[in-house]
């Protein structure tokens, strides 16, 4: 897997197709792989591929300093590339301006990998390796959330109070999210401040409601936010509840169909709900 990956990257850099490859590098097994930005074909030896490559690198495509390096190639897993689909739907990237190197992935030893149905990339320009995509029922994919939702409402509130009490408002969840690309985040807006930005429980609730809802119908479930949270808050639950509702109500799975309409900003007269009187 690694050799063809490195060769593909070398070729792309060599023939000038791209000026930079965004991939995984690793100093030693003990540390997580980190993003590397390779501009010299002779450096492709820095690229690694192993079962610790959990990070979704798509975020780095949007960084100004990386854009400045020239046309990029990016190494993605089948799950990561869904973010590319959304970014294109939201006019943030030109797909033709990016070379996507998809790497088949058998799982990164995370819980979500057990219910993954995107082992094999679908939209990549170059695909390395082969894996089989297995259908996963919605019940299986959202089992974690369903279990949580079975708790009584007061328990859920208590759970989030305890969790969000720990939030230090470092905004790592935002910084790492491939779909958080605003020029100016809503928390940086004043006159008026839309939400309380203080690191109080009130401010933390406000922030996590905003963060989750701004991903409603968009989140591709890469779990990057949960992964980077220094306090280990399970943000996946909030993201999943939005994803499940989008799927159940609008048949929309974010990032799986480049032709699909986004959930918010569109509507159907046939939208069905039971709660509006």
């Amino acid at each position: 897997m690694l050799q063809p990956l490195r060769e593909t990257c070398r070729r792309l850099l060599d023939d000038g197709t791209v000026q930079v490859v965004i991939g995984y590098g690793q100093a030693m097994r003990a540390v997580e792989p980190y993003p590397v930005f390779i501009t010299d074909p002779n450096d492709v030896g820095q690229l690694v591929w192993n079962e610790q490559c959990r990070t979704n690198l798509v975020k780095y495509l949007l960084r100004q300093e990386i854009r400045a390096l020239g046309k990029p190639a990016i190494v993605v897993k089948g799950c990561d590339e869904r973010a590319l689909v959304v970014l294109e739907q939201e006019s943030q990237i030109e797909r033709s301006e990016i070379v996507v190197i998809g790497v088949a992935c058998d799982g990164m030893a995370e819980a979500r990998c057990e219910v993954c149905d995107a082992h094999q990339p679908r939209f990549a320009d170059h695909t390395i390796g082969h894996a089989t995509n297995k259908e996963q029922s919605a019940e299986r994919r959202y089992a974690h959330l369903a279990e949580f939702q079975e708790r009584p409402i007061a328990d859920r509130m208590d759970y989030w109070k305890a969790e969000l009490e720990r939030c230090v408002k470092c905004y790592a969840c935002r910084q790492s999210c491939p779909l958080c690309y605003c020029q100016r985040c809503i928390v940086e807006k004043n006159r008026p401040a839309v939400l309380d930005t203080s690191p109080t429980l009130k401010g933390n609730f406000a922030w996590h409601i905003v963060r989750a809802f701004h991903l409603a119908g968009r989140c591709v479930g890469c779990d990057q936010c949960s992964r980077v949270c220094p306090e280990g808050i399970d943000l996946r639950l909030l993201n999943q509840s939005m994803a499940r509702a989008s799927e159940a109500s609008f048949g929309h799975r974010s990032g799986t169909d480049p032709q699909a309409e986004l959930v918010l900003g569109n509507f159907s007269k046939q939208d069905q709900e039971q709660f509006i009187r």
Partner: protein, 666 residues
């Protein structure tokens, strides 16, 4: 803003009965930013308004809250009063302490407390109000009329007569539309062409009308007052300036077998032709699919015959651009396809009526041509199969209309009158003939309409049978019509020589394409949607686009003409000032913060948001952002709620105002 005046109204007893107005005024005076607080028995009265004006001047107020009735009642009144005192009208807000307080809460203490809260909210809002000026949009005083039937002609002439230039676009080689092919019109039986053709000539000769025939709207850009319309003029193969319309060419053309569109296939025409003798423009056109020169490369007799050297076989489609201020859509109707072979030996629609299989089963528009003096039979009623004069004719109503199962759920409105007219025209020409009509209901609402139907029955002896026809078969050259007379309660079989089907009215083909180009909605049948069925019947939700005639719904000639004149009046009203003035309470984008995801653009019902490019000093594209077109935005604010970075805001209901209102209730 910190010099706010609060004016609380007693509304006689209406507010004062349940709200302690004096106490409210005293509490309001304590609210942050409030400079003074006054009351008056009737704030909307002249002395009340004078109090407001005088206080604005005396206290140099920079914001006003009127606590009285609903803003829907008097916001305009009070904003005008403020304007008279040189205060920007958009610095006035209202607290609805009557409809939403004193009238619905009888407990005085609680109603008073709520009234104070409502004022608190309004004061919090007005502190963040900004002075706004009406938005001005320049207007190009030129109108595009799409469709040259009677509605389009009427609209075009009304507008042109007032001195405003009109561009009239017609898809067919001649204007005139469906009406040009009619024989006589109900309920007066005056000759259709005698009414219409002088109007057509007027169009052709009018100095303010530019006529494009064989043309369609290719593209519409821009917005109200400032459209740029591209028109595709199909190759006509005739130099219309050189051509004199002498007719030498079409008399000599050897390709004579094309069914005439104007006669609905009952007659034939040549490859170079004018659709009918009174066509406007009175110039021929070459049918590129029938012409031997254009299809097979031989012939060219017309070139030899033409003394004016007007034939142009190398003619090409041409694109014409026009700057337009307003658009009137008058694309009219077509008939429901009665029996359409589905290619698998079956027929959809009304296959059991044998339309298309039996030559003597025809549509009502075909019957018009049979009766017309300019028609293929010269006005003698002769049936298509053998040219015999039919002695028994059956007319069937509601073919397609009011039939959910097979056709369309709506009533086509004109067919009852058309059938009555046809029975009379038939009787007037075939004195010993008998007309039968099968109908569901007779709908003859209209001036002199019911009298007309009565005349058909009572004077001209038409037999009316209330019931449907189940099947038509052909036996020994006659058509056996099997139906039921539900009033007599028995089945009815009539041996007829000719059957005429009053097919439903449908919008003309391609109307959906056009609707999308001009951003006008249409219903499930393709009829265009007006803005409001009662109050804005010719306007649409696309600013500057109007509808008239049968493209909007089934209509007869008088109604189409009325609507056309109404649309013309609305356009002229719009043009009565050299600029359009619009409410300034609209959205605007803070471009420095916009991430360009265009969720706002997807959601905008008025297509008021466009991408704009931000470029640096070297002209390099930095990024794309959303930009609101102030000529189109109606101020719903859907974009504000959707914008994740809150880079778009709505004047009059800005984030700052709304949050201040909520905060004030803390």
């Amino acid at each position: 803003m910190a010099r706010i005046g609060v004016f609380t109204c007693w509304c006689g007893e209406n507010i004062a009965r349940n709200v302690d107005v004096q106490s409210v005024a005293e509490q309001a005076a304590q609210l942050p930013g409030v400079r003074c607080s006054q009351t008056h028995k009737y704030m909307c009265s002249d002395p009340g308004q004078k109090l407001i004006r005088d206080t604005i001047a005396a206290e140099r107020l920079d914001g006003v809250v009127i606590a009285s009735c609903s803003p829907h009642m008097h916001l305009k009144t009070f904003r005008k009063a403020a304007e008279h005192a040189d205060l920007n009208p958009y610095l006035v807000e209202m607290a609805n302490v009557r409809e939403q307080c004193s009238w619905v809460h009888s407990q005085r203490s609680r109603a008073t407390a709520k009234a104070v809260d409502l004022i608190r909210v309004a004061v919090a809002k007005v502190r963040h109000n900004r002075a706004l000026e009406p938005i001005q949009v320049p207007v190009t005083r030129k109108v595009l009329v799409v469709g040259g039937g009677v509605a389009g002609i009427q609209a075009a002439l009304d507008i042109a007569d007032s001195g405003v230039p009109v561009v009239l676009v017609e898809r067919e080689p001649s204007i005139g539309g469906k009406m040009a092919g009619l024989s006589e019109t109900f309920p007066t039986l005056d000759c259709s062409q005698c009414i219409l053709t002088p109007r057509m000539v007027e169009v052709a000769q009018h100095p303010n009308i530019t006529l494009h025939t064989c043309s369609e709207v290719e593209q519409v850009e821009g917005y109200v007052g400032n459209f740029r319309v591209t028109i595709r003029k199909q190759a006509r193969y005739i130099d219309v300036d050189k051509c004199t319309g002498c007719g030498q060419c079409w008399n000599a053309c050897p390709s004579k077998k094309t069914p005439s569109e104007f006669d609905y296939g009952l007659g034939k025409r040549t490859a170079i032709y004018t659709p009918f003798p009174q066509a406007v423009p009175a110039r021929p056109v070459i049918d590129r699919d029938a012409c031997l020169r254009l299809t097979k490369g031989r012939c060219g007799i017309c070139v030899k015959k033409c003394q004016a050297d007007a034939i142009r076989f190398d003619d090409q489609d041409e694109l014409v651009s026009e700057d337009i201020g307003a658009i009137i859509v008058a694309t009219g109707y077509q008939l429901y396809e009665i029996g359409k072979p589905d290619g698998q030996g079956r027929v959809t629609g009304y296959g059991e009526y044998g339309y298309g299989r039996y030559p003597d089963v025809i549509s009502s528009l075909q019957f018009e041509r049979l009766v017309s003096a300019s028609g293929p039979t010269g006005g003698e009623i002769r049936r298509p199969s053998d040219g015999a004069v039919p002695k028994t004719v059956v007319f069937i109503s509601c073919v397609g209309s009011r039939d959910n199962a097979k056709g369309l759920s709506y009533c086509s409105k004109i067919c009852c009158m058309v059938n009555a007219k046809h029975t009379m025209l038939y009787k007037h020409k075939v004195h010993d003939g008998q007309a039968h009509v099968f109908y569901m209901d007779i709908r003859a609402g209209g001036k002199n309409y019911d009298e007309f139907v009565r005349r058909a029955i009572e004077q001209d002896g038409a037999h009316y049978h209330r019931g449907r026809v189940s099947k038509i078969t052909q036996e020994d050259g006659r058509l056996i019509v099997r139906g039921v007379d539900t009033l007599a309660g028995e089945p009815l079989t009539i041996a007829a020589d000719l059957v005429v089907l009053a097919a439903a009215m449908r919008p003309a083909t391609g109307v959906e394409d056009l609707a999308q180009k001009v951003n006008v909605g249409y219903d499930e049948f393709g009829f265009l949607c007006e803005s409001h069925p009662k109050l804005r019947p010719v306007e649409t939700n696309a600013a500057g686009v109007f509808v008239c005639g049968a493209c909007h719904g089934p209509k007869d000639i008088p109604e189409s003409v009325t609507q056309a004149s109404a649309a013309a009046a609305k356009v002229l009203l719009m043009f009565s000032r050299d600029r359009l003035y619009r409410e300034p309470e609209i959205a605007h984008v803070q471009e420095s913060a916009c991430a360009g995801c265009f969720a706002c653009r997807r959601s905008c019902p008025y297509h008021a948001i466009d991408p704009a490019e931000i470029r640096d000093r070297q002209g390099q594209l930095v990024r794309r952002v959303a930009r609101v077109n102030p000529g189109l935005c109606m101020g719903c604010g859907t974009c504000v709620a959707l914008c994740v970075s809150k880079s778009v805001d709505l004047e009059g209901f800005s984030e700052e105002q709304v949050y201040a209102m909520v905060e004030s209730l803390r």
